[in-house]
């Protein structure tokens, strides 16, 4: 996942900041707002941040305060499509800051838009005396660039064998560094190997049938799918496509990355 750091004003009146970043798996948490009230009274602080998220999806805001908070103030999240200095707003949504328990973050969902590559968060928060207030944006990029991910895995694949399968109904037990080349399939069953190594990679290529639903795929529930023709986390081949599926072991699960053309 990449973050484009841009210090241009993506929205005319916003000042983007990227104060802190932590990467957790396929997610990234970006600190949008971090203020400490050093006075003995509550103070109001303006929230005005924008970030360019590229292809990443904004999932939620994490909001926390070092003291109890119950003002219920509203933040406005604006999604936009930006190109250079040109910004076109796509949508806005109001986020009500929930009641916060001291030193605990609350998650507030944000609805993303596929066309948006930038986010702006604005509003006002009342920070209790002596307290710190923070807002993070949680972005995910599980899909990102499929081609990049496939290339990354393909580079790890040290092919020891290309095995051609001619049947239309095949059961494939994945093998490290093996490419299975199939023709048109009506039935594909994937079996995981009994043991694996950290750098396990395997590729399965096949052509789907001419009609929808013609090619069935049976796969272990533990495979995590990513890429083309994935619906509700399940790989459902479409008709008339040549698929290349890269399997690799991520240390916990087997993942299958599908590319269909």
């Amino acid at each position: 996942m990449t973050i484009e750091r841009s210090y241009h004003a993506m929205f005319a009146e916003a000042t983007p900041m990227l104060a802190a970043v932590r990467v957790v798996g396929g997610q990234i948490k970006i600190n949008l707002f971090s203020e400490k009230n050093t006075t003995d009274d509550e103070i109001e602080k303006e929230v005005n941040f924008s970030i360019q998220k590229g292809s990443a999806t904004i999932k939620e805001l994490l909001i926390g305060c070092s003291d109890a908070y119950s003002e219920g103030e509203t933040l406005t999240v604006t999604l936009a499509e930006t190109e250079g200095s040109i910004s076109e707003e796509i949508s806005t949504q109001s986020i009500t800051i929930p009641t916060l328990t001291a030193n605990e973050f609350e998650r507030v969902s944000v609805t993303d838009n596929a066309n948006a590559n930038a986010i702006k968060v604005t509003g006002t928060v009342t920070i209790p005396a002596g307290a710190s207030f923070m807002i993070y944006a949680v972005l995910t990029d599980e899909t990102g660039s499929i081609a990049e991910k496939v290339n990354e895995i393909a580079n790890k694949l040290e092919v020891t064998e290309v095995r051609t399968l001619t049947d239309t109904d095949v059961e494939i037990t994945l093998e490290n560094n093996v490419i299975f080349n199939c023709g048109g399939l009506t039935d594909l069953e994937i079996v995981l190997p009994a043991s694996t190594t950290a750098d396990f990679t395997c590729q399965v290529n096949f052509t789907s049938g001419a009609t929808p639903d013609e090619t069935s795929v049976t796969a272990p529930n533990t495979i995590v799918w990513l890429g083309d023709d994935i619906e509700s986390d399940v790989f459902i081949p479409a008709a008339n496509k040549r698929y290349s599926v890269m399997f690799y072991y991520d240390g916990v699960n087997f993942r299958g990355i599908t590319q269909g053309v």
Partner: protein, 76 residues
């Protein structure tokens, strides 16, 4: 089309994905559909004369469409 018989008025179309404890089946084949209780639907044309309503019946290996004649109110 594969369906699951619910009652004489209701059938459920087979989904594109089925799951059991171990496996996920996308575009499942007939033997998998049978295992999950889905059977092929055998349709029949509605008779031309008279008033009919569609009903379903289940046999060991299929679900069939039947047309049940609706009694004419004038005759009652």
């Amino acid at each position: 089309m594969f369906v699951k018989f619910i009652d004489e008025n209701t059938i459920e179309k087979a989904p594109r994905v089925l799951r059991d404890d171990c496996y996920t089946y996308s575009n499942p084949k007939a033997e998998t559909l049978f295992r999950f209780g889905y059977k092929p639907l055998i349709e029949a044309e509605c008779p031309e004369n008279g008033n009919y309503e569609m009903k379903y019946a289940e046999t060991e290996n299929k679900v069939i469409v039947m047309w049940s004649e609706i009694a004419d109110e004038a005759e009652e």
